[in-house]
Amino acid sequence: MNTNLKISNVTKIYPGCVANDNVSLEFNSGKIYALLGENGAGKSTLVKILSGVIIPDEGKIYLNENKLELNSPLDAKKNDIGMVFQHFNLFETLSVFENLIIDSDEQREGLREKIDTIMKKYNFSIDLDIPILNLSAGQKQKVEIIRCLIRNPKVLIMDEPTSVLTEQETSELFLSLKKFSEEGILIIYITHKLKEVMQLCDEVAVMRRGKLVSVSEIKNENIESLAKKMVGQNLKTIKKKKAKTSSDQLIKIKNLNFTSEDPFETNLMDINFSVNRGECLGIAGISGNGQSELFQVLSGEIISEKNSIEFNDNYIGDLSPQERREYLMAFSPEDRLEQAAIPQMKIFENVALNNFKSSNFFNNGLINENKIKEHSKKIISDFNVNTDNIELKSQFLSGGNLQKLIIGRELITSPDLLICFNPTWGLDVGAINYIHETLIKINEQNKSIILISTDTDELLKLSDKISVIHKGKLSKIMNAEEVTSEKLGILMGGAN
């Protein structure tokens, strides 16, 4: 039974932006298709049209020669099109089973059996009766996939599925997708990660600025050719020079423990490490293994024992983030719009939030707006933030620009240590490159970095030393040259 999906002349226009410009594509089951493009290229809009979330201005969609009327997500479901969104569409406080039964017409017992069969077949193991918020990102994604599979879909669309997954979880996902494809499900895989396209897919369609740039078979492409099509220019690849070995210790963490009252947080157990000047320490791990707690302890959002953190010969474990900044530490948290910046506030107001004493942003309790604006303009031009309007609300900046602004805000004080947590999460290749260059530059200026990241490639590229966090415990610290991504993967899974 073959499935043929045809997109014909689809156009979707938003005020000030053509998200899809006359896009036509054809897919056949038995193959895995990649839809490749940078953030904002229009991939997500296109698949949201396929799943009925967005209604196109023009164009038609055919499934097996039948024209589809996709006016709501229900229509897509009825026509056997399943979609796993980049941002999960799950109900955090409901149990896994409740999440699955909510859009199913089946009875409880029948559905349970069906889910068990699916889980056995694809080797998933998820407790159906715990709330979604207790699951890891990988497990959440499996729930989404199960939700699609229950309906025996003809088409399965995956929107940037690996952005929250670890190496292991990613390869598990790829195995499952290949299995689905063999069973006759048409798979459309949306991504901006070139490596994955090469690994997984049979055919690739590249989009740029709302337009379809090319459709080709993977065997005729390589990473460089795809990158060129996606970005529209050649990307220079950056490499880190080996750091000058210095023995000048900057920060030392000794017997650091953190026990949380919140059952959804991870406890940190006996953390010990030190970072020298000019060095980048990478901390790898599957998300939810204590990274965010470690970041908070290091940044001072969680106060610990005074002696547990020694920075520049001062004990600072009991200081707040503000006080730590005065000692020349800087922080770039994971969630750009929740923790690093306030979305409804203007760019320059967000810059003022990082209020260190010498900045003179405030005079006797009054805001020194000119000073802040001047400072913001400097950040915008120094760090290549693509806007000239510092009155713009931060929520309207793209992820890449916002991250540049945040890193810029932190670095303009020329701190001795920058602690960042998933700094390139969800960014496109251009922005990632820029952030990586910036981080390398910091090390070259003999400043240090603690890089907590779930992206192993990034860690291997930027770190001098690497450790892995698993269930709140750090592995021994290894030299980056001796580490491979396989080895990291094994440690991340908790093995020795």
């Binding site: 799943s51 799950l90 039964i101 909510i102």
Partner: protein, 310 residues
Amino acid sequence: MIIDINFIGLIIASIMASAVPLILASCGELITERSGVLNLGVEGMMIIGAISGFALMTVTGSLIIAIFGAMLAGVLISTIFAFLTQTLITNHVATGLALTIFGIGISAMIGKNFVGIPGKEFPVFFEGLKDTIPLLGPILFGHSIVFYFAFALPFITSYFLKKTKIGLIVRAVGDSPESASNQGINVRLVRYACILYGGAMSGLAGAYLSMIYTPQWIENMTGGRGWIALALVVFSTWNPIKILIGAMIFGGLTIIQFHMQAIGVRIPVQFLTALPYIVTIIVLVVISRDSRKIRLSTPSSLGKSFHKDN
């Protein structure tokens, strides 16, 4: 001093009776809030229910028309709220406050002609059985249909939310309207229904006050009970059974402090009057401390407008 055991039964029954309007309004508001809508207009909807019930009873003479009319009045006024917050995407808090002010004003206007008119007697059930069992007799028997309904409602609400598909959909919408919408659930429809249901229950709570509890119309007769009902929903962490406990404590202390004032206990009156509020909140906070359960039962999207973009 010999304490008559039936007298204790009567006191408990009177405590339960005073808890009825709180339970009704809270359980209604709980459903509204579980769908992610914060309706601060409970007090306004209650008072509209109170005057509508009393006026319909006086004019038509039919208790059934009056009770259902009061619920319908609650539905109608909450429709205004639903239209504003769900269709015109206004702010929940401001709209709810406006609704209360509107309700109090319009009820006073309509009520002008009904001041001083005596109410009607409302039929009660099992009156004859009251004296058959000591203590329990007065508690269990001799109450109106609304009374029995109110004490069943928390359990019905709990069952509805936990066990039924529609209850699940209500919780899902309150958890994440975006996800629900992407799953093909009509968020606006669900929220309209929940708001209207909350209106009906508030209307019934008001009618209970003006037709059964104190059968007459007095201006502003809800006296802040709508606000207490709102507080109960939050402090019970959206759990209907805890609403029942909270309403009983509040009702109980209100009655007991009256008696204490009457006996002349040497505690400042102001403190006694404040006591029910303080104790209810403390007790509910203590029994709802579990941060995990709070996280699981708090509707994440509470008070946030949802606008579907295409």
